[in-house]
């Protein structure tokens, strides 16, 4: 794929070489100087960022950061401890480097530098995180719409304090149970289409008391109808489901409607929900976000090189790291674990620039609106207005498909063999692109499960409905997740898989004892 990584700007006139530094040891002063120079380069390319906060930390602290999904503060839970144990094991065995990943979407944008790294690595991380990811957080529409970078840290502090207060009052076990159950449903704690209200710790705390009362009243309102049930009630009215429309945000529905939850339990559901919502854009923009950051660390450091600010040795070390970041093992390699988002994203952005600067006939045919336009504008437009699915659908070029040698395989349980449906050739490009785009659609990757009905007048049971896509059934965790839903809901929970009006599968918690089939 190296032909995709042409030097972006041919050095016009090798400026007088006055490197910022020549050694590989970093100092705070050097980091400051590099940051200043990288910032100047970023400004040349019009990268718009939040202010940066760069924190130098030790390897142990980096592992701490890893195990709390990069959050500088978080509530306590055993699952983070598990994450920590496996991170530290991987690190001690040398299986993983701890360099690039940790940057969080906050204002100021916090990025971590590990003290063990050499100066070129620090520069790479600054360019990647503090200018690449940072400008993505500030520019991409999903982040702009769904998250509030200025409020997240305060909110996390609020959440941690709230959870630990609950632990004191109700015991660690009780809180852990609720958190376990919330985590199981966390992916179903987001509004996919509605824009949520921005989070604010101050408001949360302030409103908490009023809400306590309010919530309980609301819940009561729903259930007050129960004793009123009479024989002669309008059968049509009784048929009406609650909720009338299926609800995609299961945690929200439970928080607002579960009959037996205590107020603090509702608050904890709310906290998990808010965090899920905060991470939701990240889950939808992995390829773009990493691709963008990788494109910019590559471009910015090359710009530094052109300006004579870094040495050849620096560039060699940098390129070596860069190459391993964008390495894509082929499907039959023992190292293969799916498509590397860094590679895919970096390849698309790099090729997009090529299409703008040096379009071929193929590009003109495929990208008539883009070929030959201003590359910076085009890249910024692509960064700002898409998520992975639409980004791939819009910008994956035949050249990138060829470079990565992409191919699609169909696995149908009705067939006794796999079938290659499209490869990187003329008849396959469009199909391949469509299939790859769909692969990044979260609602295709995760089962579509929504709240279907509550038996308000009967046994108060909650029914969830799963709508299978392409007959793909639910996985083996389903019963277990249902148990968590049952814990939160407090009454029976049912889950039906309904494919085009036909009930194809059902799950119940508690398990009906009489039923013979499982």
């Amino acid at each position: 794929m190296n032909d995709a990584i042409d030097r972006p700007n041919a050095p016009a006139a090798p400026a007088s070489r006055e490197p910022v530094s020549t050694g590989s040891e970093w100092t705070f002063d050097l980091i400051r100087k590099y940051d200043e120079e990288i910032a100047k380069c970023a400004a040349e390319f019009g990268l718009d960022t939040y202010p940066n906060q760069i924190e130098v930390i030790s390897a142990e602290q980096m592992m701490d950061a890893y195990s709390s999904v990069g959050m500088p503060v978080g509530y306590n839970h055993w699952s983070f401890g598990k994450q920590f144990l496996s991170t530290s094991k991987g690190y001690q065995r040398g299986q993983m480097g701890l360099a690039y990943e940790i940057v969080i979407n906050s204002n100021p944008c916090i990025a971590y530098l590990m003290e063990e790294n050499t100066l070129p690595m620090q520069a790479l991380v600054i360019a990647h995180a503090s200018y690449g990811h940072n400008s993505f957080f500030k520019g991409n529409y999903l982040f702009r719409t769904w998250t509030d970078a200025s409020a997240i840290i305060d909110y996390l502090v609020f959440a941690r304090n709230y959870v630990s207060e609950c632990e004191e009052r109700y015991g660690v076990d009780a809180v852990e149970e609720i958190l376990d159950s919330c985590h199981a449903l966390m992916n179903y704690g987001v509004d996919r289409y509605k824009r949520p209200a921005p989070i604010s710790a101050a408001e949360e705390a302030q409103r908490q008391e009023e809400r306590e009362e309010y919530l309980q009243r609301r819940v009561n309102d729903l259930w007050r109808t129960i004793p009123k049930m009479t024989e002669d009630e309008d059968p049509v009215k009784r048929k009406k489901r609650y909720p009338e429309e299926p609800q995609e945000n299961i945690l929200y529905f439970i928080e607002k409607n579960a009959p037996l939850l205590e107020t603090w339990q509702r608050e904890i559901i709310r906290i998990v929900r808010k965090l899920a919502q905060y991470f939701y854009p990240q889950r939808q923009t992995q390829v773009m976000n990493e691709g963008w950051a990788t494109f910019w660390h590559y471009t910015l450091l090359h710009r530094m090189y052109e300006k004579g600010l870094v040495t050849d040795g620096f560039m060699l070390e940098f390129l070596q790291s860069h190459t391993s970041v964008v390495y894509q093992p082929p499907f039959n390699s023992p190292w293969y674990s799916g498509i590397n988002p860094y590679t895919l994203g970096f390849s698309i952005f790099t090729d997009l620039r090529r299409i703008c600067e040096a379009p071929t006939d193929e590009d003109r045919e495929w990208f008539p609106d883009i070929a030959g336009t201003d590359w910076l504008e085009t890249l910024h437009f692509a960064m700002a207005n898409f998520k992975d699915e639409s980004f791939i659908q819009q910008f994956l070029s035949p050249k990138v498909m060829r470079d990565l040698k992409l191919f699609a395989i169909e696995d149908d349980d009705l067939e006794d063999s796999y079938r290659v449906t499209a490869i990187h050739d003329e008849p396959g490009y469009r199909e391949l692109r469509e299939k790859l785009a769909r692969q990044y659609n979260l609602s295709y990757r995760e089962p579509n499960i929504q709240v279907w009905n509550v038996d308000v007048r009967g046994d108060r049971s909650l029914t969830l409905r799963h709508v299978p896509v392409d007959r793909v059934p639910l996985g083996k965790d389903t019963e277990e997740v249902l148990r968590h839903a049952h814990r939160l809901w407090g009454f029976d929970v049912h889950l039906e898989s309904v494919d085009e009006g036909t009930l194809v599968d059902e799950y119940h918690c508690p398990h009906p004892r009489s039923s013979g089939s499982s």
Binding site: F28, R32, D35, E36, T49, P51, Q53, I54, V56, E60, Q61, M63, D64, S67, S68, N76, H77, W78, S79, G81, F84, S86, K89, A184, Y188, P330, Y336, S337, I339, K405, L406, F407, A408, I409, E410, D411, D413, S417, Y418, R419, V420, I423, H424, L432, K435, L436, Q439, E446, P447, P468, D470, R471, V472, P473, L474, G475, K476, T478, V481, H484
Partner: protein, 431 residues
Amino acid sequence: MGMTHIVDRRLNGKNKSAVNRERFLRRYRHHIKKAVSDAVHRRSITDIERGESVSIPTRDIDEPVFHHGQGGHREMVHPGNREFVAGDRIPKPEGGGGQGQGQGKASPDGEGMDEFAFQITQEEFLNFLFDDLELPNLVRKKLKDTESFNYVRSGFSTQGVPAKLDVVRSLRGAHARRLGLGGARRKKIRELEAQLAELKSAPADLDAAFSHEDQIKALEDEIARLKANVNRIPFIDEIDLRYRQHLKQPKPATSAVMFCLMDVSGSMTQMHKDTAKRFFLLLYLFLKKNYKKIDVVFIRHHTSAKEVDEEEFFYSRETGGTIVSSALKLMHKIIESRYSPAEWNIYAAQASDGDNWNDDSPVCGKLLTERILPLVQYFAYVEITPQDHQMLWYEYEQVRERFPESFALQQIADPSEIYPVFRQLFERKAA
């Protein structure tokens, strides 16, 4: 620019994950306890300096989420195509269940992916072990402090806490200072006093510029001024204070030998032996805290006794009857030949299911009271049986009456009952 804020966080706490880690261990304490218990079974009783690797089946710690199962129709895009063209068919592996992605994923180092493996530290290891034995916290702490110190005097210092003030030395210093500071002035006073006396005794010189009285007055004033000056020298000053200084010194290292005696006759099951092993382990930990060098001697017996290595001690099987005195005799012989009580602190722990030839028990009592107990610091006996006591127990009860300080016996059916045996020992040491 100046938009960027660079912070050095390295000095901030690094153990942010400590609580989460602890939560994890707490949640899976049953798994870990079992791993620790297995490790105790596997390890030498002197091998307690390290943590332990614990594996938990992944399915037990998975966090469940809704996800797709196998089946239906799906398509995946992969990179690195070499020879495929559209329409190619690839047979599915036998037994169906083929999956587009991630099939047969094995970890590169051969460790199974279906186990979640992690390390616990030595401290955590001991904690779980102590949980098993239900050790009180104070004792846990004592056992885990590997080094203990004595404070020895090491001269004096100009700084310290009031409690360590050395009064004599401080006053001596003050005296010297007063002498030093006032010496010249006192000498002057003495001179002036001599002049004054002379002046007073001499007749008045009428030609002098100053009258006789004026001269006397001037001298007297000067003497008074100097005396006041000397008096202003403080009696004791901050710089005079001396404090006794103490240095931490590791406790003098001495040697101890620990005898492990165990009945290995047919009636002792592996369960009995594992309980005994914990008992020996605890004694070893206790000794290790107090002594730099510890020898461990393993004596197993049925009808005859034999000195063996640890492996054989715990894990080989024997059958036959039981003559406890054979072990005591051997122990006494070993003490005489190798461990002179003048140089060694001798501890012994004996584990048995209580079986003995009835004729032999009085022999044991006699051996203990007359020959062994006078030589040893402590002799602990545990009878690992839930059943009624046998002859040996009653014999040993009499021994305890005669040596309440250095002999303990306890019946245990479960590892958690081991600790009381040690209580006396710790209490005695703490006093």
